[in-house]
Symmetry: C2
């Protein structure tokens, strides 16, 4: 099926305006779309209203209306009738739990399988994966399970980071992903560095941005892939 | 009840030998103990045998035998008859899931309530809290729930870290704890910096180490507490 996905590592690069770096790609990806339905449930320390307004300000530049699901009495119906879906970042656990409560997982899967464009960043990219087992977020609420949309067969680790701050002894991101692989040996993990994204159009998968992605699978050395490289092995 | 707890942020400071900095405190805390039972289940990328041997090498200096639970056919019984319990760091999710599988939670709680000394570091300090909702670890396996030992009424965030690496836009640790507080407004969180630990002896709670701890609760400004400060408000 010709699913269309734009899975972005992070909303904003350090020192830049909100959603500045991915906006050109979002515009190209959503060409012809008049309104998107927006899932705001990853917001924790600010309101869904504020989140919608913040995203709308950026999407104004594309001439696209942003309609947040929290304004609908029937969020499932809002997904059912969406032209395109945008899932914002924040806390992955809060996002998944709310989507479970509203029963959104099956309807999002069905609509994406039928061709509805999906844009996610950070937590919104995490939930496009089979599970949220490669999130960086603190598990501040308990969802009913770790299964997510499964729009791609691999896991994304957004905000992928090569090193710890100097002098910090905690696990590096690579340490954590190595642990993931031991427990989940058949699953590919894409360490998606900030400033980059994956775009899937049908069977074509592209890395976009100015940096390589680091790809992991149990039993293989990590590999760096660059924009333009063939990523079909991930399917 | 006179519970005795030594809850350590991290096993090892950057550039030091394994368990070097907390060893003096562990020795004082376990004075008179001949053998400890060790919970190795947070180990993921190395074996339980290796973990036991690594800890034994350090405990040799204290003249204390380390007996890992993975050697016992009845892990519950091994806790039941333990002189003292030591819970090592690694992945909090793997640690909790295995302890749930073996039904260890109630027996550890009962033994600690009856005075058995408990030493944990990193993941081993996380599971001493009511839940594992303030872990930094990647949720690479799914436990049956987030509830942990609840040996203290507050949450610890081990390896507490003040800043991100330069140029990284992901959430800081404080951002993550602020999200926790919104969802869990009645719970204190202790950001326990590397190189520090909490020691509870009956109703006395001390911060030990060369750095302050950062304490959070919804609706209050974060406060820095120093070794020697009164921490009874956490109870």
């Amino acid at each position: 099926m010709d699913t269309r996905l734009l899975l972005i590592s992070n909303s904003t690069n350090a020192g830049e305006e909100y959603l500045a770096y991915p906006m050109g790609e979002i515009g190209k990806f959503l060409r012809g779309v008049k309104a998107v339905r927006f899932i705001p449930y990853a917001a924790v320390t600010f309101s869904y209203d504020e989140y919608e307004a913040k995203v709308q300000r950026r999407f104004d530049g594309l001439g696209i209306r942003v309609e947040s699901l929290h304004r609908f009495t029937d969020p499932k119906g809002a997904v059912q009738s969406a032209e395109a879906l945008v899932v914002g970042g924040g806390n992955t656990w809060c996002l998944l739990r709310k989507m479970q409560e509203f029963g959104l997982l099956p309807v999002v899967r069905a609509r994406v399988a039928a061709g509805m464009p999906y844009v996610g960043w950070s937590a919104g990219s995490n939930v496009a994966c089979p599970t949220i087992k490669t999130t960086n977020d603190m598990p501040i609420v308990e969802p009913s399970g770790f299964e997510a949309f499964g729009l791609v067969p691999f896991q994304i680790n957004p905000h992928y980071l090569d090193a710890n701050p100097a002098g910090h002894a905690g696990e590096t991101r690579e340490d954590r992903i190595r642990e993931f692989m031991v427990e989940n040996p058949s699953v590919w993990v894409v360490g998606l560095r900030e400033g980059t994204m994956l775009r899937k159009e049908g069977s074509d998968l592209q890395l976009i941005g100015g940096r390589a992605a680091r790809i992991f699978r149990q039993g293989e050395p990590p590999r760096e892939v660059n924009p333009g490289d063939d990523l079909k092995f991930l399917f």
